[in-house]
């Protein structure tokens, strides 16, 4: 059953775009990576023309997260194409697909709203492969008559994909997670720790005032080191760290750091350096790193919910208990 709408009264709106990224675009991308204005970095959904497309030009479908839109169009220099931007509430393709907003319903709606059938003679849509979790290709065809072709995972392969007659190599269909891919995800992880860290420093400051301190430089850099290990070092070194679970990987590196912090401050030779404090650090810092590393599963490309749940059922209780006991030991140490 094809849905037909008498749309002669509706306004037709095509927005022009190009494959050129301006300084503002690149700055905006950098800011988004650091969490600045990230939740509102959108372009208007609808139909865009890139170059000089006609009724035979390909139609590429994407999300209205500006970083996504820019990442797509910058790979299309020299092409004449239509870009159909779906309203994914400013979220990238893969996440939106998982949520359902880059989905069958939105795609069908957007097709009808922009009246795409008036601009192209063919009835083919090229979707990013990572939109597949949200889109049922055969449903789209049933409802609109448009055929869905899944293009490559990476925009940079689109030109070759189109030129080879809509054929994708297995390489084009595989998601990678290189060190660089992992690195660009770390700023946002780090920025997410600012508020909780400031609260922790606040608490330590108050404890100092109450005479339960003194918490000082070593506690500070020990904690910051654990944060950087969990948010940055573990993600970047990910495949090189032994073990499969992310929490474990974070814990391992965090443990090495905690030992280092102890050794740098006199343990075990200096009798002034209490065992309680040393053990306290060994319990707290790796747990902090483990928790932050565990959170990186949400940004990774190869973890599953079932796997994360399995990890968490063990990791979360262990982390909580470690931190509580470790903090207690450190506090007790201040009294004796």
């Amino acid at each position: 059953m094809l849905i037909q709408i008498n749309s002669t009264n509706r306004e037709i709106n095509i927005m022009q775009t190009s494959s050129q990224l301006t300084f503002q675009d690149k700055l905006g991308a950098w800011k988004a990576r650091w969490g600045i204005n990230r939740m509102n970095y959108k372009v208007e959904p609808g139909l865009y023309s890139l170059g000089n497309p006609d009724e035979n030009s390909p139609v590429l479908v994407t999300a209205n997260y500006k970083l996504t839109f820019d990442s797509l169009r910058k790979e299309l220099s020299g092409l004449d194409a239509w870009i159909l931007v779906l309203d994914t509430k400013g979220i990238n393709v893969w996440c939106a697909a998982g949520k359902g907003t880059f989905g069958t319903t939105e795609l069908v709606n957007r097709l009808l709203v922009v009246q795409l059938e008036k601009f192209v003679a063919h009835r083919t849509l090229i979707l990013p492969q990572l939109g597949a979790p949200g889109v049922s290709a055969h449903e789209v065809t049933k409802l609109t008559g448009f055929k869905v072709v899944y293009g490559p995972v990476r925009a940079k392969d689109i030109k070759e994909f189109i030129q080879s007659g809509m054929k994708a190599t297995p390489e084009m269909r595989t998601v990678k997670f290189s060190a660089y891919d992992r690195l660009v995800l770390t700023p946002i992880e780090l920025v997410g720790t600012i508020k909780p860290s400031l609260m922790i420093f606040g608490v330590l400051f108050l404890l100092n005032l109450m005479g339960l301190g003194p918490f000082g430089l070593v506690d500070f850099y020990g904690y910051m080191g654990a944060v950087i290990i969990g948010c940055v070092l573990t993600p970047v070194l990910l495949p090189l760290i032994p073990g499969r679970a992310f929490a474990w990987k974070g814990w391992l590196l965090g443990f090495v750091w905690a030992v280092l912090v102890n050794v740098l401050n006199g343990w075990p030779d200096d009798p002034q350096y209490s065992l309680l404090r040393a053990i306290g650090y060994l319990l707290v810092f790796p747990a902090v790193s483990a928790y932050l590393a565990l959170n990186f599963t949400g940004s990774s490309t190869y973890t599953s919910l079932s796997g994360v749940l399995k990890e968490m059922r063990i990791a979360i209780p262990v982390i909580i208990i470690s931190i509580v006991i470790g903090c207690l030991l450190i506090l007790i140490n201040r009294f004796i």
């Binding site: 899944y150 973890t303 968490m312």
Partner: protein, 98 residues
């Protein structure tokens, strides 16, 4: 080099009786979990499955099933407290949806 996560956890299932070998699942899988074996689709690398649901969504014959879900640890923890289904509401402090 293929990244490897935990083993034997995925909920992916393929009902060969419904499979016609159309290959849509292979086309959409981001980790080459499936391949054609004896003119039908088959799971060849189960532990690489990330339960994204792309194959399930795009199988016209309902031969596949998986328990999809937000794989974001922060969302899961939140759902333990709220009692609701984990959802990617993408708070700016979360690590998901980068």
């Amino acid at each position: 080099m293929k990244h490897r996560y935990l083993k034997n956890v995925t909920t992916l299932k393929l009902g060969q009786s419904k499979c016609t070998g159309c290959g849509r699942c292979i086309e959409v899988c981001p980790h080459q979990v499936l391949a054609i074996v004896d003119s039908k689709c088959s799971i060849i690398d189960k532990d690489s499955c990330i339960e994204c649901g792309a194959c399930v969504k795009n199988c016209p014959f309902n031969a596949l099933e998986v328990r999809p879900g937000v794989g974001c640890a922060a969302a899961v923890i939140k759902s333990w407290f709220t009692g609701e289904e984990p959802s990617c509401d993408c708070s700016s402090s979360g690590g998901c949806c980068s």
